[in-house]
């Protein structure tokens, strides 16, 4: 029982990062496409934060600067690289994000090298004992920070006018223009927010998975599984899906011996295919309501 709880909590720590990337993916899906470079965006952000910390910048200052820069760069990339593809078939945009993924990955390797680096955690080491269960403080705090940032994004989407416009643009861009919404900028804002959320998820997971140009490939796949599980049109569902995938991955790796760490990638794929076969809208995705 204690072991199970421990596995669940450490699953939540990585799951928090998957949830962050899953939310990022869902935010960009509002513009109609999946951004396969989302993980690499986050990876670059982590390298930026790492470089700042190496230069002696305080951890939390580096964290804040990185998030701000990520937000701005996300907006910039949408406006410069994705904008020309507006109106083209969505497949074109998706292929462009694949290209971006490869470029960012090798660009990071060229700039920072491929050797695995450790990334500092601002939280104390050690464990919190809860009735015989040792919970890693670092894992708990990483999870907590990710959740706080995700709640911020939710508050933004739910309670602000811009957030409302972001959700409206997904439903009907033309009607949005008739309300006076500058839809192009709203889509760019979605990209910026996605980069922001991805950056925080990446920084929180970096002490656990270590830092190298391919560090986000796994999390991206798990985030895809999480978003599919939770439902692509439900930001909250995507977050819960990401958390669930983190926990499932950990439990399956621990309790089903033949899977171990080697096959845990496969678990994500089985999840994706399974959900799409049996519940295509995901757990929390809305089956579109329509009166006929």
């Amino acid at each position: 029982m204690e072991a199970l709880l421990q596995q669940i909590v450490s699953g939540l720590a990585t799951g928090g990062a998957y949830a962050g990337v899953a939310l990022a993916l869902v935010l960009v899906t509002e513009t109609g496409i999946i951004n396969f470079a989302q993980g690499e965006f986050a990876m670059i952000s982590v390298f930026v934060a790492w470089t700042l910390i190496q230069c002696g910048v305080n951890y939390w200052l580096a964290f804040a600067i990185t998030l701000a820069v990520s937000l701005a760069v996300g907006i910039l990339i949408e406006r410069t690289l994705m904008r020309p593809l507006e109106g083209a078939p969505h497949l074109n945009s998706v292929m462009a994000t694949m290209g971006l993924m490869a470029i960012l990955n090798s660009g990071a390797g060229f700039t920072w090298g491929y050797t695995i680096k450790s990334f500092p955690s601002p939280f104390p080491e050690g464990a919190l004992w809860l009735g015989g269960v040792a919970l890693s403080i670092q894992h708990l705090c990483a999870f907590g920070v990710t959740m706080i940032l995700l709640l911020l994004v939710f508050g933004f989407l739910r309670f602000t006018k811009l957030g409302l416009a972001l959700r409206a643009a997904h439903q009907d861009p033309q009607a949005c223009r008739l309300m006076g919404v500058r839809v192009g900028w709203i889509f760019a804002l979605g990209w910026g927010l996605a980069a922001f959320v991805g950056a925080s998820a990446g920084i929180m997971i970096a002490p656990i998975v270590f830092l190298d140009p391919s560090m986000m490939l796994g999390p991206l796949l798990y985030a895809l599984a999480g978003a599919t599980l939770g439902g692509w049109d439900s930001p909250g569902g995507a977050v819960l899906g990401g958390l669930l995938v983190g926990v499932i991955q950990n439990l399956v790796g621990t309790y089903i011996p033949f899977i171990g760490p080697d096959l845990s990638f496969g678990v994500a794929l089985v999840l994706i295919v399974g959900v799409l076969l049996f519940k295509p809208a995901g757990l929390f995705g809305r089956v579109r309501v329509r009166r006929v």
């Binding site: 409302l164 416009a165 439903q171 009607a175 949005c176 008739l178 006076g180 579109r288 009166r291």
Partner: protein, 236 residues
């Protein structure tokens, strides 16, 4: 000076020309009807005015040329367009649809009154304010589309076939509201309709379009007396 002046307005869908030089005027405080058969270019004219499609020719709103402006900017000048098919956000509640209508409003104090006004105009929307727009009946959806357009406090309201697909009683109700919006609120209305009888009953002036051109125009009285017109376009 008319609030809206259109001169030689042209627009195309790809290679196909849809408007061949439309000219019309909408005086401030009036309801002007645009009639005509399917495919005559009524909807296209509205889309060209509000900037949803590319167009050439002169469109002036309040004396200012708007034919090169984007849709987003034209809304900012106070032109609300309630489009064909209503353009509601189906997965939003009635309330959130109205909030979207007020997207450009900065005056949060007076905005509250306008929400109340929307529910006074359309009591049924008040009862259903937390319901998803997609689950409303056709008449309620049309009411919501109009109410959402009014949240902008527009000077000019472009209405595209508000009677489409609705039962006669509901159509009566909606046109009463259009009349009161115009009379009490002073909002100028350019109304596209297939239902010529009801459109003529509320308007001060009407244009009849045929294949992308203005075929006839005049007061409702003049159009009603024009027998050839009745047979060929108005169908009653």
């Amino acid at each position: 000076m008319p609030l809206l002046e259109i001169e030689g307005l042209q627009a195309s869908y790809g290679q196909v020309k849809a408007l061949h030089g439309i000219s019309m005027e909408v005086g401030e405080g009036n309801i002007v009807a645009m009639l005509g058969a399917n495919g005559a270019g009524k909807t296209t004219t509205l889309r060209a005015i509000s900037g949803l499609i590319r167009r050439t020719g002169g469109v002036r709103f309040n004396g200012r040329p708007i034919d090169r402006e984007s849709a987003e900017n034209i809304v900012r000048m106070g032109v609300a367009h309630v489009p064909e098919n209503r353009g509601l956000f189906g997965q939003f509640t009635v309330w959130d649809n109205l909030r979207m209508g007020a997207y450009l409003r900065r005056d949060t104090d007076t905005l509250k009154e306008d929400f109340q006004k929307a529910f006074d105009n359309f009591p049924r929307l008040g009862e259903r304010r937390t319901q998803l727009a997609a689950t409303l009946s056709g008449g309620e959806q049309q009411m919501l589309a109009i109410a959402r357009g009014l949240m902008l406090r527009p000077r000019l309201l472009l209405l595209d076939e508000p009677s489409l697909g609705l039962a006669p009683l509901i159509v009566q109700e909606i046109f009463q509201i259009i009349r009161s919006i115009n009379r009490d609120g002073g909002t100028t209305v350019l109304l596209v309709e297939q239902n010529a009888a009801i459109a003529l009953s509320v308007s001060q002036h009407a244009y009849v379009l045929e294949t992308g051109q203005v075929a006839v125009s005049g007061t409702p009285e003049e159009l009603r007396q024009n027998e050839g017109l009745q047979k060929s376009y108005l169908g009653y």
